[in-house]
């Protein structure tokens, strides 16, 4: 099952490919030098004439050093430009008006030790409903497929963080603070929500179900 959400998967692939590129260069270089410049004991030429108590001659090359300041910088700038765009897809100032041109619906989630309370506000039961899962007995948030939701988060006691794995979305639910995450629902089925911010004894059991229907 795909996890992480669309913009995560897109970026991950790019970063992954560049990681392999950098890794091949660094490890290839290291592997070559580790064996090519190997010296057996007893035949050790002291190339730079190291002597105890004498600072050795500088071994440097300005052009090379500049090259590996500039080349990684270009890669970093390129990757930084790439990641600025998708930022607003998953994360937005909660005071902002929302995603441009897309209708969205607000659902409230409040964390308590150790359960989630879902608040459908004034949405119809087709768009949002709260129930109990028959198989597991867990609280279930029932949402509609192909709909954009804004999850408004807060907490009643300590900090929690609901983790919607399939959409790669999580944000701390902090007491006394309103935070928000965007949830562009695009899969149907039953999904597991757990808590990602340590909140005490039953942290691992602070679970709920997200059910998405057509």
């Amino acid at each position: 099952m795909a996890v992480g959400g669309a913009s995560y998967n897109e970026l991950f692939e790019i970063f992954w490919n560049w990681s392999i590129f950098v890794g091949v260069i660094v490890f290839g270089w290291q592997l070559h030098h580790s064996f090519f410049y190997r010296s057996k004991d007893g035949e050790v030429p002291n190339i730079d004439n190291l002597k105890v108590g004498e600072f050795p001659l500088h071994y440097h090359n300005g052009k090379l050093e500049a090259a590996w300041i500039i080349a990684p910088s270009i890669l970093i700038i390129y990757l930084t430009v790439l990641i600025i765009g998708p930022t607003s897809d998953v994360w937005e100032d909660p005071d902002a008006i929302g995603v441009e041109g897309v209708d969205y619906f607000e659902v409230g989630v409040t964390g308590y030790q150790w359960y989630w309370e879902f608040d459908c506000r004034e949405l119809s039961t087709d768009l949002c409903d709260v129930g109990v899962d028959a198989d597991t007995g867990l609280t279930t948030l029932i949402l509609k497929n192909n709909t954009m939701y804004r999850i408004d988060l807060t907490s009643g006691d300590v900090t929690h963080s609901p983790y919607f794995v399939q959409w790669g979305a999580k944000e701390d639910a902090v007491p006394g603070l309103q935070t928000a995450i965007w949830l562009p629902i695009d899969l149907t089925g039953k999904f597991f929500i757990d808590c990602a911010e340590f909140c005490g004894d039953d942290h691992a059991y602070m679970t709920a179900i997200l059910e998405v229907h057509e």
């Binding site: 099952m1 996890v3 992480g4 913009s7 970026l11 890794g23 660094v26 270089w29 290291q30 030098h33 580790s34 410049y37 035949e43 030429p45 190339i47 730079d48 190291l50 105890v52 108590g53 004498e54 600072f55 001659l57 071994y59 440097h60 090359n61 050093e65 590996w68 300041i69 990684p72 970093i76 990757l79 990641i83 998708p86 930022t87 998953v90 994360w91 100032d93 109990v132 597991t136 006691d157 900090t159 983790y163 794995v165 979305a169 701390d172 902090v174 007491p175 006394g176 603070l177 039953k190 990602a196 911010e197 340590f198 909140c199 005490g200 004894d201 942290h203 691992a204 059991y205 679970t207």
Partner: protein, 755 residues
């Protein structure tokens, strides 16, 4: 299953027996009589044996239910309460509800039921038996009767209360105390070995008191080092216990309460009580030797900075012996740390860390003064060995960042003890303030522990390749650059914390910049090997291993600053894998390299190369076996700090979790590798101990390094140099009129030395 209490409907039993019977109306009737016998029909004995299981037959005669079996649908029911001992059901005709036995749906067409009772150690138990005799029409009516009777059984005597199981934590840390005592015996043995013929107890007291009161930088360095290694083992044992718990899904090896304490202490111990003291140990030993100083600037402050450590470590762990150690995570996030439900040990844990802040501040003053003012003649800032540079930058980072942590800790301490409300939301406090204070310190802190490892690897690789380090000046500027950048990136730990979106965006951009100075260092190390003649020693292997693992850790770090990826990866095992790749693969590998590199200098004995290579090979492979699969677990969405994890519904499990079935296998794989990695460290410890006794005598410069520590004898005398050496510079320098900055930084006697 584990997930939640079962929600299936329970068939009705009899409840509310204190006030009569709730499931049928009617009244107690003398027609119905109650019996309770042993299962074989003999009368109930008056006495019982301690901790024995008895089988009873309970039931009734008379009333509308007392008919031949099968003539009517329902016949009756029962409820049995025992004041002592434990009741149990033997078949599906009865069930246990809230400690009371009652009949089930399938058990209400009987007039008698067989039940079990396990007797307690002592005392008199009374059994209250309530029965129904019903007419079988399925509804409550006036001719349904009930009756109640009480039976008692008392102890034969002689039974003893069984001993309660000792708490796991108490057992563990009692073992640690035992090990400490054994260590003391080992110290006595070391003393005995030094001079077996002339051994006398009267000489022991001055010898041990010399260690306890010494202000010599070498002795204090050794104390730091031994303390760090000891806590490295303690933290490692905690990690192995946690891995045992996580080996299979739904394991109950540790309770959730124990697990929470374990990961808190594992983090605190590994960073503050293992990594920092080991780095301080090397800094104490090597920095004065490398700059040609006889000792540190303030030897007594140095001793005080060390002796705060053992006291602080006792405070940090003092909650353990009552099973109430800190359980808030090493980050101590608010408001969970201020929450009343946390263990009392958390208060001591905070107090201990405040002492460590004091210790680090004292050490910072000392090292900055020493490096700035006590360099040998001829050694300008740009002739300092890279290890000394790395210690200077790292101590500067610590010195500037740790006040924020100290303030945060004092606030948290006041919140917990005198009910101030710095972080208490309901009184207007701000929990995110703690995160800022903590990470403003916490991010430089991880650079404080990694920078000395950079310095170690720079020394080791250059010496092993028989070359000068490539790009000495760019290495120094990269160190300083990393030190500077560490202060402006801390917010990437808080990208999902609810802090200001503008600040999050800025931190995303600055964090990407960390890669540039780190990249310079990695490429310079690689270029240092170019054209050299690499001599393979154990410390060379560790340094090369460091290059691989640290680069992998650096690359995985590049995934976090992107906020749209961070929301998925934050607080998952991908983070755990990343920071263990840089902290174990970086700091610990660097420290291992330093141990093999400087051990001959410190003890005057060579270490065994064969054992060292075996240690490296086993540890390097098992290390990657532990942390590489964690990346995948994190990508699947396995969250950290959970004492258990849930698998997707499949043929083995009906729980709807996140992890695919193969995740269970990988967790087992990680646990097995963790044990191999942990045990492989024994090779190093054995190597160190055996080499101390039987190792070859080490020459002054066994590896061919150029810096001053190789000038003095192995081990060095006290004070460390008989005569302060003068550094010769092989490079030709043009005489320049020093500018204001140089005048401030170059020692006064620089002119004389140049002549």
């Amino acid at each position: 299953m584990l997930l939640a209490p079962s929600m299936q409907a329970r068939p009705t039993g009899i409840s509310n027996v204190e006030t009569g019977c709730s499931c049928h109306t009617g009244s107690p009737n003398s027609e119905v009589s109650v019996f309770m016998t042993l299962a074989n029909g003999s009368a109930l004995p008056e006495t019982y044996n301690a901790a024995e299981t008895y089988s009873f037959l309970v039931g009734f005669t008379g009333g509308p239910g007392d008919v031949a079996a099968g003539t009517q649908e329902n016949m009756g029911g029962f409820n049995l309460v025992a004041t002592k001992g434990t009741l149990a059901s033997t078949d599906d005709s009865s069930q246990l509800m809230a400690g009371q036995l009652t009949h089930t749906d399938s058990g209400n067409d009987q007039t008698s039921w067989t039940v079990e009772w396990t007797s307690p150690a002592s005392g008199t138990s009374s059994f209250t038996l309530t029965v129904n005799s019903v007419n079988g029409d399925g509804s409550a009516s006036a001719d349904d009767y009930w009756a109640q009777s009480t039976f008692t059984m008392s102890s034969m005597g002689g039974g003893e209360e069984p001993l309660a199981d000792a708490d796991g934590l108490v057992v563990l840390f009692s073992a640690i105390i035992l090990v400490t005592l054994l260590l003391f015996v080992a110290i006595v043995y070391v003393f005995y070995r030094m001079n077996p013929e002339g051994f006398s107890w009267s000489a022991f007291a001055p010898w041990i008191s010399e260690w306890l009161t010494s202000t010599d930088h070498k002795k204090i360095g050794t104390l730091y080092f031994v303390a760090g290694l000891f806590y490295f083992v303690v933290g490692g044992v905690l990690a192995l216990l946690m891995r045992t718990q996580l080996a299979i899904p739904g394991n109950d090896f540790l309770t959730k309460d124990e697990y929470n304490q374990f990961f808190t202490l594992h983090g605190t111990i590994m960073i503050f009580l293992a990594a920092m003291p080991m780095i301080n140990g090397f800094a104490n030993w090597i920095v004065p030797l490398q700059i040609g100083a006889k000792d540190l600037a303030f030897p007594r402050i140095n001793a005080m900075a060390f002796w705060l450590n053992p006291v602080a470590s006792v405070l940090i762990m003092s909650g353990i012996f009552s099973g109430n150690a800190a359980d808030v995570g090493w980050t101590g996030y608010q408001p969970i740390t201020g929450w009343v439900g946390t263990h009392t040990g958390a208060t001591f844990w905070i107090a201990g860390q405040i002492m460590l802040v004091a210790s680090s501040t004292l050490a910072g003053i000392n090292f900055i003064t020493t490096i700035a003012g006590m360099r040998a003649p001829g050694m300008g800032w740009m002739q300092m060995p890279l290890f000394t540079w790395s210690i200077l930058v790292s101590i500067m980072c610590l010195f500037i960042s740790i006040p924020a942590f100290g303030i945060g800790l004092i606030e948290a301490f006041l919140d917990r003890t005198v009910a101030t409300s710095f972080f208490n939301v309901s009184a207007g406090g701000d929990p995110v303030l703690w995160s800022h204070l903590f990470w403003y310190f916490g991010h430089p802190e991880v650079y404080v522990v990694i920078l000395p490892a950079f310095g170690i690897v720079s020394e080791v690789l250059a010496t092993s390749a028989r070359r000068a380090i490539f790009g000495y000046r760019s290495m120094v500027f990269a160190l300083a650059g990393i030190g500077f950048v560490s202060f402006i990136v801390y917010g990437h730990h808080m990208l999902t914390s609810g802090m200001s979106p503008a600040l999050r965006f800025v931190m995303m951009l600055t964090t990407m910049a960390v890669a540039v100075p780190t990249g310079i260092k990695i490429f310079n190390w690689l270029k240092t090997m170019h054209g050299g003649s690499l001599v393979y020693r154990t410390h060379t292997l560790w340094a090369l291993g460091f290059l691989i693992t640290f680069t992998l850790g650096g690359i995985s770090g590049m995934f976090f600053p992107a906020i749209s990826m961070n929301t998925h990866l934050h607080e998952t095992y991908f983070v755990v894998a990343h920071f263990h790749y840089v902290l174990v693969g970086g700091v610990v590998f660097g420290l291992f390299s330093a141990i093999y590199y400087w051990y001959p200098k410190m003890t005057g004995r060579m270490m065994n190369e064969r054992l060292g290579v075996i240690h490296f090979l086993i540890a390097f492979i098992s290390y990657n076996g532990i942390f590489w699969p964690m990346h995948k677990l994190g990508l699947w969405g396995m969250t950290r700090r959970h004492h258990t994890y849930f698998m997707q519904a499949n043929e083995y499990s009906d729980v709807i979790g996140t992890l695919p079935p193969e995740a269970a296998g990988w967790n087992m794989f990680i646990t097995i590798n963790a044990f191999i990695f942990g045990l492989s460290s024994l090779f190093m410890v054995i190597n160190m101990v055996v080499s101390l006794i039987k190792g070859q005598k080490a020459p002054a410069d066994p590896w061919g390094g150029w810096s001053f520590e190789w000038l003095t004898t192995s081990p060095p005398p006290t004070p460390s140099f008989d005569e302060i050496p003068t550094l010769i510079d092989a490079n030709v320098h043009e005489e320049k009129e020093p500018n204001w900055l140089m005048r401030m930084m170059v020692p006064d006697n620089h002119e004389e030395v140049a002549k």
